[in-house]
């Protein structure tokens, strides 16, 4: 069952903490977004494997943009 990771706020992708294929657990830090010169982590909503990462470092994202997909 695929789950999308959405951007919780608008900003710039600062760092990708995982790669496609990585195993993650719920609440692991997967991506760091930079907004207002502050780094905020985005967490995995569930356990699973990273199936897709739709952004790269430096991309600008809006709130609710799909950042990655976990299965």
């Amino acid at each position: 069952m695929a789950q999308e990771i959405l951007a919780p706020l608008a900003g710039k992708i600062f760092k990708l903490q995982v790669a496609v294929g990585d195993q993650v657990e719920e609440d692991d830090e997967v991506i760091i977004i930079e907004a207002m010169k502050m780094e905020t982590p985005v967490f995995a909503p569930a356990d699973g494997t990273v199936k897709e990462i739709k952004v790269k470092e430096g991309d600008a994202v809006e709130e609710d943009d799909v950042l990655a997909v976990i299965e």
Partner: protein, 372 residues
């Protein structure tokens, strides 16, 4: 020959250094150190620090009325009230009012934090400052440098330097000053409150906002006109999307240039005679009180509003009414994330944060109207 060498020595400033000038140099160096080593509001504190040193160099006469270079920057830039409104032009172009327009109730939090300004005003008056001085000290709690400078120039120019230094120093210290007060006044349950998603704000709203608010506020509080007018025209430049050259210039070149000409003369007003007085220590204590009171009143107002609202506001957002943009919003987010790491308060906090800027300008306008 000896006389000639003596003459050069006698005309050099070294001969005329007094101990109080050395103290001011130390203060100037301290501010420059804080700016460079600790990143304390360097855009302002660095030029202010250097201005302090320059103003306390004997015989250089950089602040000599009608002749000194720094006096000219001060007189034509600040006394003529040109620089602070131009800073506001740049700030208006930088400010996104979306998060505030999406949830207008947050405007009240921006207003609530201004209560700290008035509390400090009364305390300052009670301990001996006159009305105009007390107002200038109080406005430090608005956490807005140009407004503080604007008000000080009009009401208490002898306190301009100290109030500006206090304001910018405490702005840099917001991450230290605010959290203890925020945690003291809120329960963990309140801190984890999640905010409802912000609605999308239409382009039309964002274009109408600067025009309508400029009209309303300038008619209501005409004394606030210079700052408010510039703020709103800058914001209109941003939202109209058809004057990108003006928008970019306002946000970048203009803002950067006038910032240079703000800090340097402000520091240069701090000569040893006016600054090294016991009164000044009180300014710094009261300035700190102002920041703390504003944080408290913002949070408390949010809690009060929650008594009447089914949809609860996270009371931490009240602290963002202290208009150190975006420092206070970042602090609110961090304290919220400490309680619940998945609570992303940053964008919600920007609402009261930018509302607070308007609130501080209005508070300054009210002081000017009553006290001038």
């Amino acid at each position: 020959m000896i006389e000639k060498l003596l003459a050069i020595f006698m005309t050099s400033g070294f001969f005329y250094i007094k101990w109080n000038m050395l103290v001011m140099w130390l203060i100037g160096f301290a501010l420059i150190y804080l700016a460079i080593a600790k990143n304390y509001e360097p855009l302002l504190l660095l030029p202010i620090g250097f201005g302090i040193i320059l103003a306390n160099l004997p015989l250089a006469d950089l602040m000599k009325p009608h002749e000194g270079l720094l006096w000219r920057f001060y007189h034509y830039g600040i006394q003529w009230e040109i620089i602070p409104p131009l800073i506001f032009l740049g700030l208006g172009a930088l400010t996104d009012f979306g998060p505030m327009l999406a949830r207008p109730v947050l405007i009240f939090l921006g207003a609530g934090a201004q209560a700290g300004v008035y509390i400090t005003f009364f305390v300052a008056y009670a301990i001996g400052f006159d009305l105009k001085e007390a107002a200038t000290v109080g406005i430090i709690g608005g956490a807005d440098g140009p407004t503080t400078i604007f008000l000080a120039t009009k009401l208490a120019p002898h306190m301009l330097g100290s109030c500006a230094v206090a304001a910018y120093s405490y702005m840099a210290l917001v991450p230290i000053i605010q959290p203890p007060i925020m945690k003291l006044l809120t329960t963990r349950e309140e801190r984890v409150i999640r905010m409802k998603k912000l609605r999308k704000v239409s382009t039309l709203e964002k274009i109408l906002f600067p025009m309508v608010s400029a009209l309303v506020i300038i008619l209501l509080v005409p004394a606030a006109a210079p700052l408010m007018a510039m703020f709103m025209i800058g914001n209109l430049f941003r939202e109209a999307k058809v004057v990108e050259r003006l928008n970019r210039a306002a946000q970048n070149e203009l803002l950067n240039i006038v910032t240079i000409f703000l800090g340097l003369p402000v520091g240069a007003t701090m000569n040893a005679e006016t600054f090294l007085q016991p009164k000044v220590i009180f300014i710094f204590f009261l300035g700190l009180l102002a920041f703390m009171a504003s944080t408290a009143t913002g949070v408390l107002l949010a809690k009060l509003m929650n008594l009447f609202n089914r949809e609860k506001i996270n009371p931490l957002l009240g602290a963002a009414g202290v208009s150190a943009v975006p420092m206070a919003a970042r602090v609110v987010h961090k304290v919220g994330a400490e309680a619940d790491k998945k609570n992303y308060l940053l964008m919600y906090a920007m609402g009261p944060n930018v509302a607070g800027v308007i609130g501080t300008v209005i508070a300054a306008g009210v002081f000017l109207t009553i006290l001038k």
